[in-house]
Symmetry: none
Subunit: 275 residues, 2 copies
DNA sequence: GGAGCGCTGTATCGTATGTTACGTATTTTG
DNA sequence: CAAAATACGTAACATACGATACAGCGCTCC
């Protein structure tokens, strides 16, 4: 049963021509506000012509544009009157692979942060913000993108940030550059990679401070780590989820940025200028 | 400080003549829906004439009726898009920078999935699971790690998955391999990258089906995309958050894996054997 | 490779909508 | 109580909005 326009669109968007699909997508993206504006505004926001918008609402079964708008308004009114029933997508009773996945992910994040004190995060952020040494980042088979993501941001606000890519032998050569003043951020979740463990051990021996992102069962690298962040990874899927670690990473990025605000702001402006 | 129209009305209703006061009361009674309808409807609902309605909105300080309506819509949009900000006192128990960041991120995810139907995700998953053509993935400056993350997983369960890395000129050379049967997954959030847009356009011309991960303001690439996923990115930080898109990506990975279960399981076992 | 179909945008049209002018009613004030 | 000022509605107006006809284009399917 289709109860609201968003569902109606989702149901029929597959059978729409390109232009009308663009209309549908723009409407969904900022649902339902664009639909309350005039046809001209809607059309220019979607990058199509006015008639395409009208054909779009006609395809949804409405006689004319005002009728379509009234329908949207009724929906809004219903939502506003009962804030509890704000779920536009009804709780996905049967078909849902979405809902369980999302719920599990949200739980993972709450759990992860519940076991993570502000102080701990602040300490790590402070360590990363210290401009004494270099910062290296590396990850495992599936988590290396997280290392890259973090490196991409940190590199903008401070110098000497390096993501270690490529072959194991290449990282090892970088060990020569690492020392007590440096920080190594490692992402390692099951199945833990021996190559990372070996690398972490050698870095540890050289006095490098290790910040470890891992799962709740803790990678063996925890043994060498100065700071350990344990994220929840269980979701109803064949794969583990790195989403919680991703959010921790973003939080850290934000915290480091704030600490480096004075320097960082100037640096960011400078970079913008270079582009 | 008067921040919304309802307060403004409450502030001035005392100084209004009878007719306009009836208009004010009618609007407050079913705020703000009546204000979104036409002057004629508003007036008859309030039991006054059209000019009275216009004088009423003029007294509130608006130049004309459309301006008044836009203001109401902006207010609605602000309410709908940030459910968290509605809570005037955000819980912030520990006071740190963690909680606001986490709360915003969780809201972003809920909001992102609220605008994303199961059907839409299922369609995209089905398209990715089709083993007719190749799958290419690419991202922007900060989102390319998401492309890598997704590519790393998809590549395990099916062949012909390629992450496009390196220089723009290198991707362009890969265009020659792309055709109607292929899928291109693009991650592009503000500030949208011209290079990606150019690439998307050329791929589109070759008939490649584009799946776009973007923010709620929609990258211009949406123009060429077969499927658009609009994630929420706003967080209390100097950076935008890609966490919601990350979770959508994980959800998709899970869905594709499920669809390819028969083939995929064998493939995974085979891969394990190779390691 | 050609014919047919469907999609899309431009330009035009009719109309519903917001706006304004003016006359009447109602209240206010000296 | 009278006179003025303010408020309100009727009716005419102009504009901007939605609707439509039509032609060009690309796409699919023989």
């Amino acid at each position: 049963m289709i109860s609201n326009i968003a569902e109606l669109i989702a149901d029929r968007i597959g059978a729409m021509p390109a232009g009308e699909r663009r209309a549908a997508q723009t409407l969904i993206a900022s649902y339902p506000m664009i639909g309350l504006k005039t046809v001209a505004e809607f059309s220019s926001a979607a990058g199509v012509s006015s008639p395409t918008i009208l054909r779009f609402v006609a395809r949804l079964g409405f006689q004319n544009y005002p009728e379509f708008q009234s329908s949207l308004q009724d929906e809004l009114a219903a939502q506003l009157q009962s804030p509890a029933i704000r779920t536009l997508n009804p709780p996905t009773p049967s078909g849902g692979m979405v809902s369980p996945m999302l719920e599990a992910t949200l739980d993972n994040m709450r759990e992860t942060f519940r076991h993570l004190s502000d102080k701990q995060l602040a300490d790590i952020a402070a360590r990363l913000a210290e401009r004494r040494g270099k910062t290296f980042l590396i990850g495992g088979r599936f988590t290396d993108p997280l290392a890259r993501y973090m490196a991409a941001h940190l590199a903008v606000i401070q110098p000497d940030v390096f993501h270690l890519a490529g072959q194991e032998s290449m990282w090892r050569d970088r060990l020569i550059d690492m020392g007590k003043r440096d920080v190594l951020v490692i992402f390692d979740i099951r199945r833990y990679q021996d190559s990372l463990l070996r690398f972490a051990e050698k870095a540890h021996q050289r006095g490098v401070q290790i910040v470890l992102f891992t799962d709740q069962w803790l990678s063996p690298i925890a043994r060498f780590a100065r700071h350990v962040i344990a994220g929840r990874t269980a979701v109803p899927s064949a794969w583990d989820s790195s989403a919680a670690l991703f959010v921790v990473a973003e939080t850290l990025i934000g915290a480091v940025t704030r600490q480096l605000e004075a320097d960082g702001a100037r640096r960011i402006r400078e970079m913008e200028g270079l582009r």
